[in-house]
């Protein structure tokens, strides 16, 4: 038997998933060790070995691949603990990074200070050089400038250096030469240049992406080196792969050089896992929703592929331009606090009680009414079976705090108040789902919700009802989706080139040359990673817009191995018109332009499909634990509701709503007029009737 193991290090828990070649899934969790995350990883791996009845050495011998998702880079940016970064920029343009193209995120609230750049001004050194829009050298690189900059920055004690000159994506000559000089002069400094990281038009975005890379690079590199060594010492000799923000994996050595690609990798892999779980039941269009303690993540998956975005802002202010899985996060979670303003308007969040003190019902001193408190008052949660009974929660505390802080001020009773809290938080999530679906021209009624997160299944059916989504899927593996997503992830290298041309006068040879150039670079990476040619595939796209527009749409280009000809180009233009019309309600007669061309060089990993278990019985009655009163809005009050032991239910078991299915990781609320069934693939399928 051989295994693939996925490890995802989160803030609280380190999750591990093991998939064997027959498609059996084993999962486990262990508390994270933030000081040295590899400690928890090693501990989790030995725990996994024990569950499989092996010693760690044997498991490692039989493991072909370990994939690893880490939040080291994300946290480095969010907590301002990255490297002391220097920057070489074109003389005359020292403040591109600080100006951030002029944006103030909130134009009215002038009490918010301007964000500090990740590289302060005194470490941004202007270099005499200039290339123009055609790529021609207008001012030669002044190498002495580069050398004296190195000396100065060395004295300042920088740990990392970014290089970003104007128009370097057209002609990287100056960046290349400066890089050589710097590498020689600063042997112990982490150095990267923008042409290596994201050779794409628009200097602010390219520069900011490169600076983030330099900022997180040293820390991520040190961590990955240490982890590799630890695994090696324990006897693991095969591939370690790191997950990126695009949900693909790469070699640790590539991740060290291109550290920025891991910055938003945290939530990126979960959608792939949702797609995998959906695929087992032939659901290829799914919306994945993950509701935890503080936030709600949502992502749309069409034809089995998670939606991607081309740019993002870390912590809301540090911009980067890189393809990433487009997970929208909103501040709605079990800990979201309900509060009333001066005009007696009820709000939920964005403040959260977090895990400590947590919701009032935790009895840990929480004095604010939260979403979890409302869920408890409404009967959705079982006070004696929270986290499988590991934690006691107190309905009286929830009731008291809602009474005092919400119900009495509004002049309504405590149940009404709890129900109002729930409706508001649900609406925030419905809004989030609309943004990723309706605003993209996608009809949620044609989708299946795949639900994750501790609080997800408590709320998901209500969201589905609001959006007329007909069915939901709740997987038993949903609490480790990120780790599972890593296990099944393909190797992926996203490459980009800028072409900037009207499509009517586009030089097809040039276009094909760019694609071939990117393919050659991608193949070099795949070669290094040992991906054999028959496992390689390529995903292409072009960014298009109407002449004069600033924003582009990414139009997929089918990959046949052949060059792009006039006929295919005409089809791309038509595809663009159609996309524009779907999204923005009109098509234009204006000329079209192509801006960037993209190629992802990918290596298929052979993932077995989830193994289906045998049908046992339709009858779930022996798993009914009892009944309790549960509030359902559509019937206007409390209803006596059956409670089921979800952890032990058997394949084929079916339950009619209203019902509650309790698992140690979550609670599934099944409203009236819905049915739920345990499928052979370890997931519950809930169908809603209109």
């Amino acid at each position: 038997m051989t295994y693939v193991i996925g490890v995802d290090v989160g803030g609280t828990f380190t999750d591990l998933v093991c998939l064997d070649e027959a498609g059996n899934v084993t999962i486990t969790k262990t508390p994270s060790t933030p000081a040295d995350p590899s400690e928890a990883i090693m501990h989790g791996l030995s725990k996994l070995a024990r569950i499989l009845g092996k010693d760690t050495k044997t498991l490692f011998n039989e493991t072909t691949r370990i994939t690893h998702g880490t939040t080291v880079s994300t946290n480095t940016v969010l907590t301002w603990t990255g490297a002391k970064v220097g920057l070489l920029c074109t003389k005359g343009f020292r403040d591109i990074l600080g100006i951030r193209f002029g944006i103030r995120e909130n134009p009215y609230n002038l009490t918010i200070p301007q964000p500090e750049a990740l590289c302060p001004r005194y470490l941004r050194v202007p270099i005499e050089e200039r290339i123009d829009f055609t790529g021609e050298v207008k001012v030669p690189l002044n190498e002495d400038d580069v050398r004296s900059a190195c000396e100065y920055l060395k004295d300042q004690g920088i740990e990392a250096l970014a290089i970003c000159f104007l128009w370097s994506f057209k002609n990287p000559e100056h960046e290349k030469r400066a890089l050589e000089i710097c590498k020689e002069a600063l042997p112990n400094v982490y150095i990267c240049a923008s042409y290596q990281i994201q050779p794409e038009v628009r200097e602010y975005w390219r520069m900011s992406t490169t600076v983030i890379n330099a900022y997180v690079g040293p820390k991520l590199s040190a961590y990955l080196k240490h982890l590799k060594a630890s695994l090696r010492n324990e006897g693991f000799k095969d591939q370690l792969l790191i997950t990126q923000s695009n949900a693909g994996v790469i070699y640790p050595e590539v991740a060290m050089e291109q550290a920025v690609r891991t910055v938003l990798s945290g939530p990126a892999c979960a959608p792939a896992a949702a797609a995998y779980v959906g695929r087992a039941l032939d659901f290829n269009n799914v919306i994945t929703v993950d509701m935890g303690g503080t936030s709600f993540d949502v992502c749309l998956i069409k034809d089995g592929k998670p939606m991607t975005a081309l740019q993002s802002a870390v912590g809301g202010v540090y911009h980067m331009k890189l393809p990433l899985v487009d997970v929208k996060t909103i501040g709605a979670g079990g800990g979201s606090i309900g509060w009333i303003d001066k005009m007696k308007v009820l709000h939920m969040g964005p403040q959260s009680a977090g895990a400590d003190p947590g919701p009032a019902c935790y009895g840990k001193g929480g004095k604010e009414p939260t979403c979890t408190d409302a869920d408890l008052v409404l009967g959705y949660l079982n006070p004696d079976f929270y986290l499988g009974g590991e934690m006691k929660i107190f309905p009286d505390l929830a009731r008291e705090v809602i009474e005092e802080k919400i119900a009495r001020p509004l002049g309504i009773d405590v149940i009404e108040a709890a129900w109002a809290m729930r409706r508001i938080i649900d609406h925030h999530m419905v809004d989030g789902i609309s943004i990723v679906s309706v605003q993209r021209g996608e009809d949620p009624r044609k989708y299946t919700l795949v639900v994750a997160g501790g609080a997800g299944a408590v709320h998901a059916a209500s969201l589905a009802q609001e959006l007329n989504v007909p069915r939901l899927l709740i997987s038993k593996t949903s609490s480790v989706f990120c780790a599972l997503g890593g296990v099944i992830a393909d190797v992926r290298h996203d490459l980009v080139r800028s072409i900037t041309s009207r499509t009517s006068v586009l030089d097809l040879d040039h276009l094909n040359r760019l694609f071939n150039e990117m393919k050659a670079i991608g193949d070099d990476y795949l070669e290094l990673e040992g991906v054999s040619p028959e496992d390689r595939y390529y995903v292409r796209s072009v960014d298009m817009r109407y002449k004069g527009q600033y924003h582009e749409l990414e139009v997929p280009v089918p990959y046949t191995g052949d060059n792009i000809d006039d006929k295919l180009l005409a089809k791309l233009v038509e595809d663009f018109h159609q996309m524009h019309e779907t999204l923005y309600s009109y098509r234009d007669t204006a000329e079209t332009e192509m801006l960037n061309v993209r190629l992802a060089a990918c290596g298929r990993v052979n993932t077995p499909e989830i193994k289906g278990d045998e049908f046992v019985s339709k009858d779930a009655s022996k798993f009914k634990k009892g009944e309790r009163q549960v509030y359902f809005g559509d019937v206007g009050g409390f209803v006596s509701t059956g409670i089921y032991d979800g952890d032990n239910m058997e394949v084929g078991n079916m339950v009619e709503g209203p019902a509650i299915v309790e698992l140690s990781t979550t609670t599934i609320v099944v409203p009236p007029k819905a049915t739920i069934e345990l499928t052979p693939y370890g997931s519950f399928l809930m169908e809603l009737r209109a």
Partner: protein, 590 residues
């Protein structure tokens, strides 16, 4: 508080609908931003989206350029008054003229007005306004400093039906488009405005399907009452009294006089004593004046409000006198009112409020001395024309406790103007940039310093075509206001031209001549000022001064003379003893 305010619909419904309607307004904005073709529209975000009730009060809006939002109710009222009962499902209207029924703020800002129907009954209005790349008239770009009257400034569009019951009135649209210079772009941008409204109508319809029309209508009234309540609360915090300010700022500009009265939870802003209309194109039609006042109040008294809607305007009474610079009348020129006069009006309101609540009011932002350049790009043989947005990167004013944001101007945009990248500009225009970065000592000193301004420098690369350059923006010797609580003003703007034949045009000549032709090699050099400071500079944290000096934002000289911090120019060490002595002298000299 004189009146009792309450939410009448279910509290959960209210919260849900509030968030839903603002999401719709924001989606409209995103759609416009993503689809627009003129740079002023997608880059300067010189547009706004709004949803209004049948009385033309703002229900929800998206936060793009703040100075436009207060003007959409004027457009809707003009359409209502002109068309009365003759408004049908599927109609779309267009208006820009400031002097027909006060419908417009400035003619380059075109507003589409879209009646929203539910089933067969009109329930709301959508008004989307966007600054156009051109609006016809005597100069490209809608800014004609040489205009003698409004006719020379552009095509006057009084309330006009452009789509009738779903069908475009081709001949009418053609008439309009024939009178602008870059018609294909402008037609696309008109589609973008209407497209966004259509998507919003669909969303509103499904919202009402879910909640019912009665609940929805009550919600709209509740939301306005909610905004009104929030603003009255803020006004109540200010001591009653009369406060006064007078803003001139530039030599030739008429004075803006603001008499501000606080009475309980009401605010009266009176500009009647302002100077007479100017022969320059800096007169403010009433819609522009109102909009600027609302912006000034929302950014000072209302800066922490979570909800901004027309209800917030209810406690504010604005008074103007026809024929003054703050209430332009036909046929006065007005092209630069959204930039320059709006800025002065904002400053006047802030300066008056600073008399009583100096810690709540932002200091003045740097003014924006930008050129408009236009011509034919020899690389493609196509016309272009645009303000130089990179010369709009002035600094923001400080606020008590917060330094001003660097390169965040102009104030009427307040950080919604996205400067286009150099690589975008050089691809769009036959221009080669030499420099665009923060200028040392460009900000007004203060305990909280103003934001930095920039050096902007470029060379024409357009042969054999000329570049037509004309100066259309703020009087560039303009001194912003107010500096608050001992804060200082920034240095004045400066513009110079260096021709390749050795000729130089000085700052003073630029001011007089205004228009120039450039050919390849001719160089434009701008200094763009920072923002005003707040609080005595010698009370600024010494560490903060050292940081500014190390970052070369403040010179060693200015650290000593303005901030009273003595720093060794080579080691950057502070001489604390000398510093204390100097600071004491400064404070004693007060």
């Amino acid at each position: 508080m004189s009146k009792k305010y309450q939410i009448r619909i279910n509290p959960a419904d209210f919260s849900v609908l509030t968030s839903a309607i603002f999401t719709i307004a924001r989606e409209m904005g995103l759609n416009m931003e993503r689809t627009a073709r003129a740079p002023i529209y997608f880059s300067a975000h010189d547009f706004c989206t709004s949803i209004l009730n049948l009385d033309a009060e703002l229900v929800a809006l998206a936060e793009y350029i703040p100075v436009l939002v207060g003007a959409t109710p004027f457009a809707v009222r003009a359409i209502k008054e002109f068309f009365k009962d003759d408004i049908h499902k599927g109609d779309v209207f267009l208006v820009n003229d400031p002097y027909t029924l006060d419908g417009g703020n400035q003619m380059a800002d075109w507003c589409i007005v879209y009646p929203v129907f539910y089933k067969d009954k009109q329930i709301l209005w959508i008004a989307n306004k966007a600054h156009q790349q051109d609006t016809g008239g005597g100069a490209p770009g809608g800014y004609n400093p040489n205009a003698i009257d409004v006719f020379a400034e552009g095509l006057r569009i009084p309330p006009l039906r452009i789509i009738s019951k779903g069908r475009e009135r081709r001949s009418v649209v053609n008439l309009v488009m024939t009178n602008v210079r870059i018609r294909d772009v402008q037609y696309s941008d008109l589609l973008s405005l209407i497209g966004a409204a259509r998507v919003a109508e669909k969303r509103i319809t499904s919202l009402i399907d879910n909640y019912g029309l009665d609940t929805f209508n009550t919600f709209v009234e509740d939301l306005l009452a909610y905004g009104e309540f929030l603003m009255r609360e803020e006004i109540t915090k200010i001591p009653d009294g009369q406060y006064h300010s007078e803003i001139t700022g530039a030599e030739d500009a008429p004075a803006i006089v603001c008499d501000l009265t606080v009475k309980g939870d009401e605010l009266i802003v009176d500009f009647s004593e302002s100077g007479p209309m100017s022969k320059e194109y800096i007169n403010s039609p009433i819609a522009n004046t109102y909009s600027a006042v609302y912006q000034a109040i929302l950014q000072s008294l209302g800066k922490r409000l979570e909800i901004r809607c027309g209800g917030c305007y209810r406690p504010i009474t604005i008074k103007t006198k026809p024929g003054t610079v703050t209430h332009a009348t036909f046929p006065a020129t007005h092209g630069n009112c959204t930039n320059f006069v709006a800025k002065q009006i904002i400053e006047a309101v802030w300066a008056a409020l600073a008399e009583v609540v100096p810690k709540e009011v932002p200091a003045g932002w740097g003014s924006i001395p930008y050129w408009v350049f236009s011509g034919v790009d020899p690389r493609r043989g196509e016309g272009y024309g645009s303000p130089d947005f990179l010369a709009c990167a002035s600094g923001a004013g400080a606020l008590w406790g917060v330094d001003g944001w660097s390169s965040n101007g102009p104030v009427i945009c307040s950080g919604t103007l996205y400067y286009p990248e150099i690589e975008v500009c050089e691809a769009l225009y036959p221009i080669f940039w030499k420099r665009w970065e923060w200028a040392q000592d460009s900000a007004g000193p203060g305990r909280w310093r103003g934001g930095m301004g920039v050096h902007n420098e470029w060379v024409a690369a357009s042969d054999p075509q000329p570049i037509f350059l004309h100066y259309a923006a703020d009087p560039y010797d303009y001194t912003p206001a107010p500096a608050i609580g001992g804060g200082k003003l920034p240095p004045v703007n400066k513009k110079e031209l260096y021709f390749s034949d050795g000729r130089k045009v000085t700052n003073e000549q630029v001011r007089k001549e205004k228009s120039f032709f450039l050919s390849s090699g001719d160089r434009v050099v701008d200094f763009v000022q920072g923002g005003c400071g707040v609080g005595n500079p010698w009370e600024r944290d010494v560490e903060a001064v050292v940081k500014d000096v190390r970052d070369e934002l403040v010179s060693v000289e200015s650290a000593r003379t303005d901030y009273g911090v003595v720093i060794d120019p080579t080691t950057l060490e502070v001489d604390m003893k000398e510093t204390e002595k100097l600071r004491k002298a400064m404070s004693d000299g007060q």
